[in-house]
Subunit: 353 residues, 2 copies
């Protein structure tokens, strides 16, 4: 497609926004933009499992690029699963439809830690790195390529609970009752995530998102004691590679005053706290997100009103990246996605200096 | 048991705290204290389904009193299910083990609203009112009897989703796309909840907790537009009956500045925002909760440390009711419950004037 073939020499707006520079265009991407919301993706899924797509670099690259052919977004995010590095070191994971990743047996003892050997990206997840290289070669200069990893806490919840959870009881019980085991696990996962993100940057990822999806289920004191030191260490190591890092969590409004010290360049916001208020609590970092993905299930006038509300709260300040506050819902009508993007571009047009 | 037989003429500490008066004793109760955490309850459940217990006033009363025979708590909360009033008006609900309430078919159309006729408590839920009367007759004067209801939004999520949900997509889609239907549903549910709570007060409940368990999944603007007017209307009608009202939600830290205007006497806090900070954002109301229920899965020293942290943050100020930040987890060791209560009483002893 012609859009994808243009190499203009422009630096991606997303990277400028991550440095809090003015862009003249609100960089926009959509969490889970490559995935079940697209009929062309669902067609691929008829023949291939999710993990099969991940393991096939050409397929993963083409799925990564699908949303860019349809939508005026400013970034591609590599198609991979949060469990990719776990699978890479040999953990058996089943991705169960409508449930999520299931890990049986779960990780519950010191002996289980041996299942988490250090990640060697070029050997363990070569397909993922190759997909990044393929996408980067295709991508116009003004679009950013985002790599990502699940953060240690979020990976730990899947390993310990054996799958998704509503209350993370087994995870928290380990934290409180077996702190040595907990820190042993978090140490191994941190090493894995660090190595994984650095390899992605080397393979062409220009920004890296660390998904700590479930950390908002912790109290601030527990987050600070059991999780945050690992987050900070990873971000500090990864930033040295030069790619800006986006930290994303949901339900984490109460953690903002800790997360602001993480060293993240960009903090992803869910929809619970209004953008201006959340940004004020985060200080001098860029922000991304804030629109409830469920809004895209509403009529065009609600999409428009709530999209404009997010834009107005950001107020055109440098460092705002437009996105949803969580992954796009599979049942979202594509017309609403288009409409949301049009609203952002209209705003840009009206506010261009 | 002798504790239960004592009629001392004291006003329950919980009611004084709800008025923000000094008590000399931190009133304490535990959400879901009557239930699966107790072996004596599980024994009853071997022979009776949960809804059977609810429908048998003697059994419901005895289960309500079980935790008071074991623990030094300051209140009984009537044993009932959040769906009790829905069942009362004839909605078919199945309580599925490890899932929750399942409602099939769900409520999705204007025609479905007819299934929600007005509640007539003495005819529709006589067993619940009788259980309250039986418990009240047994309860020593210094213990409070708490009645409760699920709030309209939370009931609406079960009705619309057909059961528990992770994202409330169908509920939000109705809010945005069919506002007339949404407001029709919320109007009917509000009438039901108001009538239900007033009947509980008349039957002897001395305080009423409104559980809006899932409202923390809404953005502040959506909460304000689609839910809050109903909450305020219910609280205003119920407060006229003289019983203090406790408003409880989880993940709702971002809504505190709206909830503070609800008219609630007491606001229940989950564990995400530290108590002192949450209380400051709520202004002149009493607060309850804040200890992560998962802490009770940890070792005694963690239970002690985190219990004391909550007490210290409350700082002995009038209006603090000790509780967990969500329902007690079924797998909680009872020794830890005892230990938590001992820590509170020890604090009271050290800080009594």
């Amino acid at each position: 497609m012609s859009t994808l073939a243009t190499h203009t020499g422009y630096e991606p707006a997303l990277l400028k926004a991550a440095r809090m520079e003015s862009t003249g265009r609100t960089p926009l991407w959509i969490m889970r933009q490559a995935g079940r919301v697209l009929p062309e993706y669902r067609k691929v899924r008829e023949k291939h499992s999710l993990l099969d797509i991940c393991r096939n670099p050409e397929l993963a690259a083409s799925v990564t690029l699908q949303p860019l052919e349809r939508f005026d977004v400013d970034a591609a995010i590599v198609f991979a699963d949060i469990v990719t590095p776990l699978v890479g070191v040999g953990i058996e994971v089943e991705l169960v439809e409508k449930v999520g990743p299931v890990i049986d047996p779960p990780v519950r003892s010191r002996g289980d830690l041996e299942r988490l050997r250090p990640l060697e990206p070029e050997q363990d997840v070569p397909y993922m790195l190759e997909a990044l290289r393929l996408v980067r070669a295709e991508l116009p200069d003004e679009k950013a390529l985002i790599g990502f990893a699940g953060a240690p806490f979020t990976l730990a919840t899947y390993l310990i609970e054996g799958g998704p959870s509503r209350n993370y009881a087994a995870t928290k019980a380990m934290m409180y009752s077996q702190p040595d085991l907990w820190h042993g696990l978090m140490g191994r996962l941190s090493g894995m995530v660090k190595t994984y993100l650095l390899a992605q940057a080397a393979a062409g990822a220009q920004a890296l998102q660390l998904f700590d999806s479930w950390v908002g289920w912790l109290s601030r004191r527990d987050y600070q004691e059991y999780v945050f030191p690992y987050t900070r260490e990873i971000l500090s190591a990864v930033k040295a590679a030069g790619a800006p890092v986006i930290h994303f969590a949901t339900g984490s409004g109460g953690l903002n005053e800790v997360i602001r010290e993480s060293g993240a360049d960009v903090v992803g916001l869910d929809w619970r706290v209004p953008l201006d208020e959340a940004w004020a609590s985060l200080g001098a970092v860029a922000v991304q997100g804030n629109l409830d993905p469920a809004v895209l299930l509403g009529p065009p006038e609600v999409v428009r009103e709530q999209t404009r509300d997010v834009l107005q709260r950001a107020g055109g300040r440098p460092g705002h990246i437009f996105n949803l506050g969580h992954g796009i819902l599979p049942q979202t009508p594509l017309d609403n996605v288009m409409h949301m993007i049009d609203c952002v571009r209209e705003w840009d047009g009206a506010h261009a200096s």
